[in-house]
């Protein structure tokens, strides 16, 4: 009996050591798309990578947009930085970089020229600070007005607006033709408000004022231009009707897809939804028009790339790098374009074999604009962005005046500045 038992123990030990010998390297991968079609895309990419590299296991995790913003900042400030993770560009990326736990990619890029050169250069810049590159972009994006050609031409609109006043006139004309609302946004989603306001601020305000105010330590938001911009935003909101504040962006987009809404402000990445919905109408798009009295460059496009970063405290840097390059390889970028239908920052990945014409055009647009403006809610401190976004909801429901909102914004900016100084 005892012999049998010790034999059993022995077998167990051998088995355990065998398992131990085969132990896999684990790479933690964190992204922000638990929803389709991207969720499946990443699942497939990870599965393929694990097949090609049986000794590496990818531990993938994902949460949606707003939650991701919070979680990734917590993770990066702790000792649990994921080996590979997604980040927005510009200020958001910079805040992560400040933790000192994000890997500098310069060495890797210098060693692998082919990899470094596979990206559209202008889209790498928003991840580069003080000459150090911390991330490489996967997606590129931009925000444009998309319109239902059938509805708009039925209202007698033939030319697309060049200025903001043209836009108002166009919306007026559409509404006059009995289509109400002519324009709609899901104002219940705070970020959707920030997409409008970020663009409008960029178009109207002098760039130096914005640069000073967007910086945490020097932000004041006392320039009279802010009031003008909020007033003009309110003009657009007035076209949206009383339901806007109780709708989400997704709901508004659905109305557009269903042919019930003439104009909507969409991301280029959202073209995929129009494509997938097989809409029965013709559609086209135009960039946010200029303000006749605006001081910002009207040729820029609002929208920013999203890219992957790596931890510099990774236990398995080689495996992480391998996975990193695999994720951003041209094959997978092309697969992303095909499966997801959104534009990417890897050269040549969007082409006639995997993309529909509108998407190719979208990439051309991104490449042709004079510059890009990062998303407002990522460009300023969240307290300031929140004051703008919540405040504008309250203006839309007539609970606050624009002056009150600006006071809240200025107070928030004061708090942010005092925190940044300490």
């Amino acid at each position: 009996m005892r012999k049998k038992f010790s034999a059993f123990l022995f077998v167990l030990l051998v088995a355990a050591s065998l398992v131990g010998a085969q132990q896999k390297v684990t790479i933690k991968f964190f992204h922000r798309w638990p929803m389709e079609p991207r969720f499946s895309f990443f699942n497939q990419v990870v599965a393929e990578f694990e097949k090609q590299n049986p000794d590496i296991k990818i531990e993938m995790d994902s949460v949606v947009n707003d939650a991701y913003k919070e979680k990734i900042r917590v993770l990066v400030s702790s000792n649990n930085v994921p080996d590979v993770f997604i980040s927005w560009s510009d200020t958001f990326a910079y805040n992560l970089v400040k933790s000192g736990r994000v890997k500098v990619l310069n060495d890797m890029l210098a060693k692998d020229k082919a990899f470094a050169d596979s990206f559209i250069a202008s889209q790498v810049k928003p991840f580069t600070f003080d000459g150090k590159t911390y991330g490489m972009p996967l997606t590129i994006d931009g925000k444009v007005f998309v319109y239902n050609k059938d509805l708009v031409s039925r209202a007698g609109v033939t030319t697309m607006p060049k200025t903001f006043d043209d836009l108002l006139a166009m919306l007026q004309k559409i509404r006059g033709a009995g289509m109400n609302p002519p324009l709609l946004e899901g104002l219940a989603d705070a970020w959707a408000i920030s997409h409008y306001q970020g663009t409008m601020l960029q178009r109207y305000m002098p760039a130096e004022v914005l640069a000073k105010d967007y910086a945490e330590a020097t932000g004041e938001f006392t320039n009279p231009g802010y009031k003008v911009v909020l007033e003009r935003f309110q003009k657009l909101v007035d076209f949206m009707g009383p339901n806007a504040t109780s709708l989400t962006h997704t709901e508004a987009r659905n109305l557009f897809l269903a042919g019930r809404l003439p104009v909507i402000y969409l991301q280029l990445a959202e073209f995929a939804f129009i494509k997938a919905a097989n809409v029965k109408f013709e559609w086209d798009y135009f960039n946010f028009p200029a303000f006749a009295d605006g001081r910002g460059d009207p040729g820029t496009l609002t929208g920013a790339p999203e890219g992957f970063m790596m931890s510099n405290t990774s236990k398995n840097p080689e495996a992480a790098e391998k996975f990193y390059k695999f994720l951003l390889s041209r094959e997978n970028a092309a697969k992303f374009v095909k499966d997801v239908g959104a534009p990417v920052a890897i050269k040549g990945a969007v082409n006639a074999t995997n993309a529909y014409p509108a998407l190719i055009e979208a990439v051309n647009l991104i490449n042709s604009v004079t510059g890009s403006t990062p998303w407002f809610d990522n460009a300023v401190n969240i307290k300031v962005a929140d004051a703008f976004m919540r405040g504008s909801q309250a203006v839309a429901t007539k609970d606050k005046t624009i002056d009150q909102v600006l006071r809240d914004v200025q107070n928030a900016a004061k708090i942010v500045a005092s925190e940044a100084k300490k």
Binding site: P34, E36, D61, V63, V74, T250, N254
Partner: protein
């Protein structure tokens, strides 16, 4: 009035069931009518796209919470009902006081504590706080039952040579099964439906319980309402049937719970 109330309550529930069998477009267009062709596939989609995982997580969390609450609660109740000393007086005070405290108040420090213990974003981040916040009520509930156990039973057990631990296991636990079941069901109700901690202490989709999971399920599906409604039905129906079948215990527990806390 009863009939109006009945419709107000019953129709929305019926509507979930009915719409969960419709195509997503049908839901917004033919809002009142029955599904043209029942879309049983919605249930499969919902189950495969995440509900199954949330279900398993909710199950693990609920069962573990019940085990913890019943075990630690009855142990403490035994100590608090069978002994009298300064210690037990303080302990009783701590337990009673705990009933007055709300999870909201402890939210942020608890978040920090769980982070420091490295268990945030694991199922333990739910199980342990759930046990902690349910212990006071259930300890007092079980204690009041133990207090009603006649001394003689305990004494005869001691004469038979039972130590206190044996008395607890062999005498008290078996005879108090009704109150333990009540306490287990009350705990199940709480753990299955808790939302605040579930949404804040868990980041990953794979550890979400049903209440928090349904939220990310909605975000992930975007507008695919059919599967969303099917997911809602899946997460509501089994537990409804369960609680109705144990109604007697549940109501008893509710009563104790509301009177005392």
């Amino acid at each position: 009035m009863l009939v109006v109330g009945f419709i107000l309550v019953a129709y929305p529930l019926f509507w979930i069931l009915m719409s969960s069998l419709k195509k997503s477009e049908e839901i917004s267009i033919n809002i009142w009518s029955l599904p043209q062709v029942p879309q049983w596939n919605n249930y499969k989609v919902a189950w495969d796209k995440g509900i199954s995982q949330y279900f398993i997580n909710s199950f693990i969390v609920t069962l573990s919470t019940i085990a913890g609450v019943v075990l630690f609660g009855s142990l403490a109740a035994f100590g608090l009902s069978r002994y009298k000393s300064a210690w037990t007086k303080y302990a009783l005070l701590i337990v009673t006081g705990g009933m007055m405290l709300n999870p909201q108040v402890c939210l942020i420090p608890l978040y920090q504590l769980l982070t420091r213990l490295n268990i945030r974003n694991t199922l333990f981040a739910l199980i342990i706080p759930y046990i902690a916040f349910r212990l006071p009520l259930n300890t007092l509930l079980i204690r009041s039952f133990f207090l009603s156990v006649p001394r003689e039973i305990e004494e005869s057990a001691t004469l038979d040579g039972c130590g206190s631990l044996q008395t607890y296991f062999k005498i008290f636990l078996p005879m108090s099964s009704p109150i333990l079941i009540t306490s287990a069901i009350l705990t199940a109700y709480y753990a299955w439906n808790e939302f605040l901690f579930a949404v804040i202490f868990i980041d990953s989709n794979k550890y979400r319980t049903i209440p928090a999971g349904l939220m990310s399920f909605r975000d992930a599906l975007q507008v695919d309402w059919g599967p969303l409604l099917a997911g809602m039905a899946i997460s509501a129906i089994p537990i409804m049937i369960f609680f109705i079948s144990v109604q007697k215990y549940f109501i008893k527990g509710m009563l104790a719970g509301s009177v005392k806390g």
